[in-house]
């Protein structure tokens, strides 16, 4: 598979993942572009032995919690004239807006757990933090969002 084919096939799904990770369209596009650019640079290596989709999703999660987005100056925006966009998810606004108040790492942990459906030890490996940190970040975030953890899952999660 060529890199451009991968971008064509997976770009949209990756952007949606970026959208739940960042909470807005501009940052989602930025994150997706940057992660794909890095994948493109490493393509010959990744294609051979690794999983490109996993690589790019990991890169996106890590970039999201890193200093990268705050500090980068080369922000690429496209100037294709189309309809105006809103950055806000038009559906249920309360919880979505409250998610925006979370620090990047807490948000990343929630997205990986509840959107990507990953177990805590995989989240730990992916973000390069300990399992304990995953649990504490998730617990703090859920508490802030007033989400109760189902009793059945308490065993597994805590």
């Amino acid at each position: 598979m060529e890199f451009t084919d991968f971008v064509a096939a997976r770009g949209s799904a990756l952007y949606r993942y970026g959208y739940v990770l960042t909470g807005n369209a501009e940052d989602a596009a930025d994150l997706t572009q940057e992660a794909l650019a890095r994948l493109g640079d490493a393509w010959s290596r990744i294609r051979k032995k690794d999983d490109p989709e996993g690589y790019v999703r990991t890169t996106m999660a890590r970039l999201h919690i890193s200093l990268w987005r705050r500090l980068r100056k080369e922000r690429l925006v496209a100037a294709v004239p189309e309809a105006a966009y809103t950055d806000d998810y038009p559906g249920e606004t309360g919880l979505w807006n409250e998610l925006k108040g979370l620090p990047p790492k807490q948000r990343a942990v929630l997205v990986l757990r509840y959107y990507e459906d990953l177990p805590d030890d995989e989240i730990a490996g992916l973000l390069g933090i300990s399992r304990g940190t995953v649990r504490s970040q998730a617990a703090r975030a859920l508490d802030k969002l007033r989400v109760r953890v189902a009793p059945a899952e308490t065993e597994a999660v805590r």
């Binding site: 451009t4 971008v7 064509a8 770009g11 949209s12 952007y15 949606r16 993942y17 959208y19 739940v20 369209a25 501009e26 989602a28 596009a29 572009q33 940057e34 794909l36 650019a37 493109g40 640079d41 010959s44 890590r62 970039l63 919690i65 890193s66 200093l67 705050r70 500090l71 980068r72 100056k73 080369e74 690429l76 925006v77 496209a78 100037a79 294709v80 189309e82 966009y85 809103t86 998810y89 559906g91 249920e92 979505w96 620090p103 990047p104 790492k105 929630l110 997205v111 509840y114 959107y115 390069g128 933090i129 940190t133 859920l142 508490d143 969002l145 007033r146 989400v147 109760r148 899952e153």
Partner: protein, 476 residues
């Protein structure tokens, strides 16, 4: 009261992903544009290209926010006998407790006037200067690049006389433009660098040295495969040393000969010869903590006292810097003198090391205080001196905030910026056919060219403001 369920959260995230607004512009095109921009700046920093925060300094040239270095760091010399000059808000260190106080951040030029100099951004022949690291309090090692694609030469700029002298030419051993010199390392007797062919599938790298006094560059040797995935290099009186992506430190005699792995270096990465760490300081996010520091000359391993709740902890021989919550964490390797510094660093973010005088390291952090300082000054980054507790601001975010970090292999002593630059939008055309992704479903496939724009730095290009931490006013 917790009145929401996990199922609600799962549903919300799934729905939000489905309802995500159509992204503006084209994905494949912007990815392509980004990659071509990355290639142009990869010459001096390909190790950082996959990693690192990229900040733009002048005329669109970007440098990675990598760490790099002075003289190979015999970092023992910093002691507590240092008497700090007047500090507006010194932190208090209380035994095993952790103190916490925001430093007053003023521009580095006000805090440490001796460290700041202004150098031309270009040589007399038009070559662009790129600062690498300080060689002493008054000498700066620079590379001069005749064009993006051309490997240039090394120069030493004397901040006292304002004059630059050529140290050596940097040869291109492989024909064509596939060869890029990478990080330069300033050792005690030699200046060394390595090069590679990052845009070809081969894993290949070569190493070069020139005497510190200058002369003709000599190629030490070349390597292939996993040995060519260089993270950092060092140079001693008789050997070139380097660490590789998979971990492990190798050595090659300067006189040439086969590379050999240094025993006991599994999983280690060079920090700055002879120091190695169990994390790669040039890693992407700086996540995870360094737990040990190894002196490869003596074989001594020092365990780092890693406190709970810290992330991205990186240690030199004396001091460690990391993040705790939304603040920076600073301590000695054994955990003493521990403090958090609100306003610097950020949760989940990394800090990096810069080389201060005599090889001691200082911390380099993001500035997170919203609204800036009392005077209205908002630095891009902050250099934090753990001994005096003083903090010097780098760059000026209200002017766009670009800055560069010296591109040496070990942590550099140089941070610099162009005070005259500003941000503008620059547009180019890409082939619409390369952009299959982001049009609304059902819309016809675009044809012809699509305009794509990028924010780039403009203006400036005449002078760099350089902070050389080798001129920090310590009294040893």
């Amino acid at each position: 009261m917790n009145d929401r369920s996990e199922a609600e959260l799962i549903r919300l995230l799934a729905d939000a992903a489905d309802a995500a607004p159509e992204p503006k512009g084209d994905l494949a095109g912007t990815v392509q544009l980004r990659r071509s921009r990355r290639r142009t700046r990869r010459r001096l920093q390909s190790a950082l290209a996959v990693a690192g925060v990229v900040t733009v300094v002048a005329g669109g040239t970007a440098v990675g926010r990598g760490v790099s270095s002075g003289e190979g760091g015999d970092g023992h010399v910093l002691t507590t006998e240092v008497t700090p000059t007047a500090v507006p808000s010194p932190e208090e260190s209380s035994g095993d407790g952790t103190s916490s106080e925001s430093p007053t951040v003023r521009p580095a030029a006000e805090v440490w006037p001796a460290t700041v100099s202004w150098i031309p951004a270009k040589a007399a022949d038009g070559s662009k200067y790129r600062p690498i690291t300080g060689l002493s309090a008054t000498e700066l090692l620079l590379s001069a690049e005749s064009s993006f694609e051309k490997v240039g030469r090394l120069e030493v700029y004397d901040t006292m006389t304002g004059r630059s002298t050529v140290l050596t030419q940097m040869p291109t051993p492989k024909e064509g433009k596939d060869y890029y010199t990478q990080d330069v390392e300033a050792g005690t007797d030699y200046i060394a660098w390595w090069g590679e062919t990052p845009n070809t599938p081969d894993k290949w790298a070569d190493f070069w040295v020139v005497p510190r006094a200058g002369g003709t560059a000599k190629r030490v040797g070349e390597v292939t495969g996993a040995l060519a995935e260089v993270t950092r290099i060092g140079v001693t009186a008789d050997s070139l040393v380097w660490s590789v992506k998979a971990g492990g430190v190798y050595r090659m005699p300067l006189s040439g000969g086969a590379p050999g792995r240094i025993a006991g270096t599994d999983g280690l990465h060079l920090l700055s010869w002879p120091w190695a760490a169990d994390v790669d300081g040039k890693q992407d996010t700086g996540a995870g903590n360094q737990t040990k520091l190894v002196n490869l000359e003596t074989g001594t391993t020092t365990e780092v006292n890693v406190p709970k709740g810290v992330d991205g902890l990186r240690c030199g021989p004396v001091w460690c810097f990391g993040a705790k919550g939304d603040a920076a964490l600073v301590q000695r390797v054994d955990g003493s003198d521990r403090r958090t510094v609100p306003g610097l660093g950020r949760a989940g973010g990394s800090s990096s090391l810069l080389t201060g005088r005599t090889g001691g390291f200082v911390g380099f952090f993001g500035y997170s205080q919203r609204g800036g300082t009392a005077s209205g000054y908002v630095p891009s980054e902050v250099v934090y001196d753990p001994i005096s507790g003083m903090a010097g601001g780098i760059g000026d975010r209200t002017n766009g905030g670009g800055y560069g970090v010296g591109v040496s292999s070990s942590p550099t002593s140089i941070v610099y910026w162009d005070a005259d630059e500003r941000q503008v939008e620059e547009c180019g055309e890409v082939d619409a056919a390369s952009v299959p992704l982001t049009r609304p479903s059902g819309a016809p496939a675009p044809t012809g060219k699509i305009r794509t724009c990028a924010q780039v730095q403009k203006g400036g290009g005449k002078e760099f403001t350089v902070v050389n931490l080798l001129a920090l006013p310590y009294m040893n």
